[in-house]
Symmetry: C2
Subunit: 189 residues, 2 copies
DNA sequence: TATTGTTATACTCTATAACTATA
DNA sequence: TATAGTTATAGAGTATAACAATA
């Protein structure tokens, strides 16, 4: 049960004293480096990484309505509107009104969007390959599998799958937490 | 060399079609969930996760000057000023002028800061433990080790260690990339 | 002149709250 | 009344540039 670090900290899996062994710092470092590199690769894509994910969902064909897609991607529905405005203006996706419920709008890729995504996909893949390049083949695949397993679990608990949505109501109100804590305002001019 | 997915994509380690197997989505999901939970745990700590990391460095005793610490944490030096303003006002750290070079200011913990950090440390550890809770002990430690290995590599390549800083000049100018790409401005009113 | 730290300003991103239309 | 989508406004976070003190 106890890992090697527990002797030091007394807490299972506690944050380490050394920065290069801190979980939060490690995942933050990787995430920022990945986002930065992907943003560079997605320079000509509206919405950057977000737009790419929307495009990916649309290519897959199961993007669904704006609302459900926004929930799945963890963004606010208003952000999704802006995102789709940009993607639609670039001719990558289209908003298609749902005949069954005319309040909904389904997101579908255009042919151009499909081609564009195919190109982006390989570029993004190269970024991932570069970031994970330190690890040998075996450990890299292990790491990837574990990462996806953890993410899947987090996703299932934090933001319920779009199907069993009604179970999620446990005091948490809307889409995202406000989190204003950094009260920095000195300049009153 | 080729993983199971390469057959589909043609690119080693390429982003997957399915969202739950996408590297970027996975690490983004974990990172956001972690930050959100940590922010909740660090509600009474100025600067949130950033402030916690500054505090950790100060407790460790090798925080150094504001500049070097900012570089190590990957934040702008102006942000570091605001961060330290808040932490100092809360009585957690102190700015101590460096006798050797009076431009520098060394960051040191107060006794209160040390006690506060000890409490935060265990709370943050619990968050990590909860996020990684799906994985059995063995795989969890494996995942942690691989994560830190990748992060260490990324850190060494992306932002050179504070010592051999002069090697880093390869066209990249300052601290952080601007990255304005999301040209969304419709309201001209 | 270069660098550390500070301050002020502008801009980007996001949240919130209206509003419209459908149900 | 409730929901999907849109729009406008306000706030938080960050970058940029100017500045002061020191080297």
């Amino acid at each position: 049960m106890a890992s090697r670090r527990d002797v030091e900290t007394g807490v299972p899996g506690a944050a380490a004293l050394r920065l290069d062994d801190d979980f939060g710092f490690a995942i933050g470092t990787i995430f920022r480096a990945y986002v930065k590199a992907v943003e560079a690769a997605l320079d000509d894509t509206p919405g950057g990484p977000r737009g790419y994910q929307v495009l990916a969902a649309a290519v897959q064909g199961d993007a669904g309505s704006q609302r459900s897609l926004a929930r799945r991607l963890g963004v606010d529905r208003t952000v999704m509107t802006y995102l789709l405005d940009d993607l639609e203006r670039a001719g990558l996706v289209e908003r298609r009104p749902d005949p069954a419920d005319r309040r909904n709008r389904h997101i579908v890729v255009t042919e151009h969007g499909r081609e564009h995504w195919a190109k982006l996909r390989s570029e993004v893949g190269r970024v991932e390959h570069r970031i994970l390049g330190v690890l040998p083949d075996g450990p890299r695949q292990t790491f990837r599998d574990l990462l996806c397993e953890v993410a899947g679990h987090v996703n299932a608990h934090d933001r319920m799958p779009p199907d069993c949505q009604e179970v999620a109501d446990l005091g948490k109100s809307g889409e995202q937490a406000p989190t204003p804590r950094n009260g920095r305002r000195r300049s009153t001019s």
